[in-house]
């Protein structure tokens, strides 16, 4: 069946009519978004949990052991389990897997539920010249809130107070669309209740963050930095209304400025640094890149700093020693992107055409070629289809968190990849999107786009109903 559609398209394209009937051609490899690392296994709730299909057999053990640490529940120190103690004292989760549910996307806590796969980042504006220059030079992302640190941990080990609770209120904003269709956007407002350590700094900035899906991270890491930076157009010299800025941040292991590829604002340059940061901030675990045994505790949280920790001599004093961090990083790099299910469907290809013509592809860059990386054979030399440029874009006031992070302003976000987006329902049982899960489906996510994406967003509002449906179908086919 697929072959028939494909050859029909080939025929149309030769006759020069493919664009006239508005179908984009199926391009070589686009149904295998992760190149030969793509998995073609059954699509079910485990669809984000398979290893790179091109991974050698010899690496399966590292992947499985890495997965073991990823789902591992860390416990309070001291415990008989020296290799897995040192939780907290403050934490957002006891295991990686508890936020990255099914290696997929987190969600907004339901009414009465404690937030887990979503939390608040905290900071204050830089107060000194040193702080300002560290951020301007990409040596720091933020200045932590003096008492609570860089994020609000809503859990603590026994005997310690949790930092507080995130509360969310929503206000519905109706949006009228062409063809008599209607949508409604829920505008969130965030607050913190039950503060455990006294008042917040008066200038505190907060940014809500949902745990992003884990698939394809190694492939994103393997795209050559030069080729991504070459796409940046900070002054909008080409006048297309899209700037695109490279977020540069310090690579701790590499000892140089690198492109920030991971995190909603590009906070970290590598999978390893991102994992190490999450171990420290989210679970409260020291590791070679983030060596504080007490995690995100600040000087104002003395009992927290003084609590027993799990850094053991046999593990070089770390709670997460180098080999465990490497295993988890390897695991995180090799969660495979699923093969697309219906890339050659006529409505999908129509949607692809709409996606390209509307300007979505200006930032959601469809494909990249990864570099040759001796240390990452699974990710080397692949044609991949992540639909991101990994650059910062101003998305306007509606989406702004007004909390700058490194070189990213309060209204800039790093383009997130779209691969796997249509499987959120299958894997995670919901369709919440964007950095704080405010969008309840793909259409709402599109409608939230402003700033550089305002023109494209307005086209989606006014385009024929059938085109909008095709566009959404295409995005959900990824």
């Amino acid at each position: 069946m697929r072959v028939m559609i494909v050859s029909l398209l080939a025929g149309l394209s030769m006759a020069g009519t493919a664009l006239a009937n508005g179908l984009a051609p199926l391009e070589p490899g686009e149904d295998m978004p992760g190149g030969t690392a793509t998995h073609a296994k059954v699509i079910n709730r485990d669809a984000f949990s398979h290893f790179s299909a091109n991974m050698s057999f010899a690496k399966e053990m590292d992947f499985k052991v890495g997965n073991g640490f990823f789902r591992r529940l860390w416990v309070t120190a001291p415990s008989s389990t020296k290799a897995a103690d040192g939780l907290g004292p403050l934490f957002n989760a006891r295991a990686c897997q508890n936020c990255h549910l099914k290696d997929g996307r987190g969600h907004v806590p339901a009414d009465g539920e404690e937030g887990v796969s979503m939390f608040l980042r905290l900071s204050i504006p830089p107060q000194t010249e040193d702080q300002k220059s560290a951020i301007a030079q990409g040596r720091a992302n933020i200045v932590p809130e003096p008492t609570y640190g860089g994020q609000l941990q809503n859990f603590a080990i026994a005997g310690h107070a949790a930092e507080g609770r995130m509360t969310i209120r929503y206000q519905e904003i109706p949006v009228a669309l062409s063809g008599g269709e209607k949508a409604s956007l829920r505008q969130p407002s965030y607050a913190i209740s039950d503060l455990g350590y006294g008042p917040l700094h008066p200038q505190t900035l907060i940014s809500p963050r949902v745990a992003p899906p884990m698939i394809g991270l190694g492939l994103l890491e393997a795209i050559a930095e030069e080729s991504l930076i070459a796409r940046a157009d900070p002054e909008d010299k080409d006048g297309d209304g899209i700037s695109g800025r490279a977020k540069m941040i310090w690579g701790q292991e590499e000892g140089k400025l690198m492109l920030g590829r991971f995190g909603w604002k590009g906070g970290n340059p590598t999978v390893k640094q991102q994992s190490a940061d999450a171990f420290n901030g989210d679970i409260g675990l020291s590791n070679p890149l983030f060596p504080a045994n007490s995690g995100d505790c600040t000087g104002a949280q003395k009992a927290c700093l003084d609590a027993p920790h799990g850094g053991d001599d046999q593990y070089a004093g770390f709670e997460v020693p180098a080999n465990v961090l490497d295993l988890v990083s390897f695991y995180s790099r090799n969660l495979a992107v699923p093969k697309r299910r219906d890339a050659s469907d006529a409505q999908v290809l129509r949607g692809k055409q709409v996606f390209n013509q509307t300007g979505c592809a200006s930032c959601h860059t469809p494909s990249h070629k990864t570099a040759q990386r001796a240390d990452m054979p699974e990710q080397s030399d692949q044609l991949i289809w992540p639909y991101t440029d990994l650059l910062l874009h101003d998305l306007g006031d509606g989406l702004a968190d007004n909390r700058p992070e490194g070189m990213a302003s309060g209204s800039e976000w790093k383009t997130p990849p779209l691969w796997g987006i249509g499987l959120t329902q299958v894997v995670n049982g919901h369709t919440q999107l964007l950095h704080d899960g405010r969008a309840r489906n793909t259409l709402e996510a599109i409608l939230w786009h402003g700033g550089e994406a305002q023109t494209a967003r307005d086209k989606v509002v006014s385009m024929p109903k059938a085109d909008r449906a095709a566009l959404i179908r295409f995005v959900n086919s990824l």
Binding site: A10, A18, N44, A53, E60, V65, G68, T76, T81, E114
Partner: protein, 423 residues
């Protein structure tokens, strides 16, 4: 005429060299043996699960130390054929899809029943169901939505499995039943398994509260296990869909499925996730059959299953044998020495696994063997890991001589044949 003679002569030489035959081993016949063994293992598992059900019915009808001990013994016996079937995972997609509800592990047992807060902890508020205790709560909340748990039935257990997307929320399968029979193991790396009293199921003099619901849970989970195993028996039967899919495909692709299962279980799953991780952590919770302290058998029969699939010879629970042309014959036809090496490596693994069984039967359980500071115990477990790794290396050589490399991945129209696509 001359040519005919030559062919006949060489055939005779090859026949003399072994059972493989001049024309090589029929790959379809190898696949048929494989499917026959699968059917036999799942049928043995089903029979054993039905016996487990009988024992559990007796326990619930008249809870006593004796009926509980009988039920535990039936569970241990039920693991013997099932663990030998695990090598059918990792390749047969129908088995992979099915397996999670039957053998999921590890599990946060607090979702199912009461636990000791001192050893289990209550602080995992971030798995909202960590201490949900289905047995004690006829009303539950999952993701902000109310779940009516007033009736403990198959539907409820299936619904709560992996609730909230947390993989440790296991409500069904062998390990849920294991927890129901043994209770939580609160001994750390010290001696002793779980120690649930039979009175936990006694509605007249109930301990632990909600004995009627606990009994209903145990019975329901066992019924579900029987149902699930029946699905596999049917799937591998003479007219089963899983067998048909395997036999109707390209023979090489079927052989690749066999090898993928043997290798993946040996290496990543058993040597890696189930053994190496626990040894690195020295953690009693990283024990596959942790409530019953039956992990040594669990590992032993996994390895046994790998060996008997390679050899194409499975001894059923009732002592009868299922055998036929096997992967071993295919490898031997290409490279007799390699087949010999593979068999020796499989034997070495069984010897190393035998040491674990013997040590456990001698009173030192698997979770003690992986304990910190137990260098002798650690070394025994490491030896079994090394043996599994070594047999996987030989298996990789076998894959090379069988020239199966190209069938490893499912293809893509657009990558395999870009010229067919209009650009």
């Amino acid at each position: 005429m001359k040519r005919f003679v030559m062919v006949a002569a060489s055939a005779a030489v090859l026949l003399g060299a072994g059972q493989a035959g001049a024309a090589g081993v029929d790959k379809k016949a190898v696949l048929t043996t494989y499917a026959d063994i699968a059917h036999a293992k799942y049928e043995d598992s089903l029979i054993a699960a039905k016996q487990l059900k009988v024992a559990i019915d007796a326990l619930v009808a008249a809870p006593s130390a004796e009926t509980l001990a009988t039920a535990k013994a039936a569970w241990i016996a039920a693991r013997v054929p099932y663990q030998q079937s695990e090598a059918f995972r990792f390749g047969n997609s129908a088995v992979d899809e099915w397996e999670g509800k039957v053998n999921a592990w590890p599990l946060d047992e607090g979702l199912i029943d009461y636990v000791n807060a001192d050893t289990y902890g209550t602080e995992s508020g971030e798995n909202p169901l960590y201490t949900a205790n289905i047995i004690a709560h006829p009303k539950l909340k999952v993701g902000g939505k109310n779940v009516n748990a007033s009736k403990i039935d198959k539907k409820l257990l299936a619904k709560m499995h992996e609730a909230g997307g947390v993989e440790a929320n296991v409500t069904t399968g062998y390990h849920a039943i294991e927890f129901m029979l043994w209770g939580q193991d609160t001994n750390g790396t010290g001696p002793g398994a779980g120690n649930r009293p039979a009175s936990d199921f006694d509605t007249k003099s109930c301990t632990g509260g909600n004995c009627d619901r606990r009994a209903a849970y145990l019975v329901t989970a066992t019924d579900l296990l029987v149902d699930d195993l029946k699905t596999m028996v049917d799937g591998w039967g003479a007219k089963g869909k899983i067998r048909a899919k395997l036999l109707k495909g390209k023979p090489d692709s079927g052989i690749a499925t066999i090898v993928t299962g043997l290798g993946s279980l040996s290496y990543g799953e058993l040597a890696g996730e189930r053994m190496k991780l626990g040894l690195m952590l020295h953690d009693p919770e990283e024990e596959h059959d942790c409530f019953s302290d039956n992990t040594h058998n669990s590992h032993f029969y996994d390895a046994k299953g790998i060996q008997n699939i390679y050899l194409g010879k499975y001894t059923r629970t009732d002592g009868t044998e299922v055998k036929g042309p096997a992967l071993a014959d295919l490898v031997a036809a290409k490279d007799t020495a390699l087949d010999g090496d593979m068999k020796a490596k499989l034997d070495a693994t069984m010897t190393a696994m035998g040491v674990l069984v013997k040590t456990a039967e001698g009173g030192e359980a698997y979770d003690q063997m992986i304990g910190a500071g137990n260098s002798a115990g650690n070394a025994k477990v490491q030896a079994a890991i090394d043996a599994l790794v070594a047999q996987t290396r030989s298996l990789e050589k076998a894959v090379a001589v069988l020239a199966l490399g190209e069938v490893k991945f499912e293809g893509s129209d657009s990558l395999d044949n870009p010229s067919a696509i209009g650009k």
